[in-house]
């Protein structure tokens, strides 16, 4: 993984997390979701890199940081193809695809303007009904969200 990306002319990570195979269109949303802006560590972000799998992809390298699983599972909402690499002492010690949680709370806006979650002071809540194609169902009004209808708060 690290050796392949040397050609990107970005520094290899000693310790940290590399999030790879992010669709280019979702890269900056992923940056936002991870709260990278607020991290004081060195971060490398690449976009529109060639990818056999996706055509074009984005990649995020964050030094000295390992994200908790609930943060990483958020990435799955916008980038179900993403792969998380955990780096310790220049070695990839863990490489796994992101996976959607069973339930997503407080992260996605229901697209139904009459949903109780949009009109009362309560966090939105969705059940994941299709992991492969990323489909969510509102716990309250039962509207189903897919694709572009999934809007993050």
């Amino acid at each position: 993984m690290e050796s392949k990306n040397k050609e990107l002319a970005v520094a290899a990570l000693r310790n940290g997390t590399v999030i790879d195979h992010i669709p280019s269109s979702a890269l900056f949303k992923a940056v936002d979701l991870l709260g990278i802006e607020k991290l004081g560590v060195s971060v490398t972000i690449g976009n529109n890199l060639e990818s056999k799998r996706l055509g074009h992809k984005g990649i995020i390298k964050v030094a000295d940081t390992e994200f908790p699983p609930e943060v990483l599972s958020r990435i799955a909402i916008i980038a179900p193809s993403a792969v998380i690499n955990t780096i310790r002492d220049y070695e990839v010690v863990k490489k796994e695809p992101v996976s959607l949680p069973d339930e997503i709370t407080g992260l996605v806006v229901c697209d139904n303007p009459k949903c109780v979650s949009r009109n009362q002071p309560i966090p939105s809540r969705f059940e994941v009904i299709d992991r492969e194609n990323v489909a969510l169902r509102c716990h309250y009004c039962e509207h189903e969200l897919r694709g572009d209808a999934i809007i993050l708060k």
């Binding site: 139904n112 009459k114 949903c115 109780v116 979650s117 009109n119 009362q120 002071p121 309560i122 509102c138 716990h139 309250y140 009004c141 039962e142 509207h143 189903e144």
Partner: protein, 314 residues
Amino acid sequence: MPTNADNTNAPRSIVSIADLSKEEILSLIRLAAYFEERPNSKLLDGKVVATLFFEPSTRTRLSFETAVNRLGGRIIGFSDPAATSTSKGETLKDTIKMVANYADLIVMRHYLEGAARYASEITEVPIINAGDGAHQHPSQTMLDLYSIYKTQDRLDDITVTMVGDLKYGRTVHSLLMALSHFRAKFNFVACDELRMPEEFRLFCDRNGIEYHESKDFSPEVIADTDILYMTRVQRERFTDLMEYERVKDLYNLEASMLDAAKDSMRVLHPLPRVNEIAQDVDDSPKAYYFQQAKNGLYARQAMICTALGMDIRI
């Protein structure tokens, strides 16, 4: 003789028809039949039922309140939120928490979709959803099912033709889901703009439910039908008013269209109707919509006792 009110079942909220298993639906049907025989009793003696109508619905409220009164319970609540703290900006949570201090059961109607589900998760007091926006209205579905059961003597293997607004009509969606337990077959008759939504067609596919779609409302469609479920095509549902003008009279039922129908076929409608069922249909023995509304009383009595966890041995 039945023994009543042992209170051996756990109280439970009834928010969505999808929360009810086939066995629970059948149990409610049996209980509704029991209450039709004995609508008046003291089963709810000492119980307080709150009816919270955050949007007005006179028909539904009167039916629920009659159900409680005939079972000997007491009612608190409001029929117009303008007179409550909701108009001062009180949250739904605070209103529910407050009322839960006083009532054994809350029957609520709200303009927000999912409001009853939310309410059921913030209080131990059981909630009956009396309609949440365009989402769910399980007591309507129960009275529809009870009406089908009464008129067809069964719920299994019924052919239902749904006509009119199949896109926004929550009653047709809930009935479709409830009948999925009972090997029903469907004809969906609607114009393109009010077609049965994809999620419900997919639901049919997933559950092996046979359905046919048609834009023509013809006597041929009615011929093999057991239940003809009419709905109102509302002008405000159309983005294109020319389209409304074109289709508004295509889905109206007239008495002559019933000539080829089975003798046992019955016409249902959630009411209010406007002109989608001609007045001359009212005199047909196949017209059932007024009795259907009356069945709502018994279906709601059954739901109230079930929500309260009362064990009524029939």
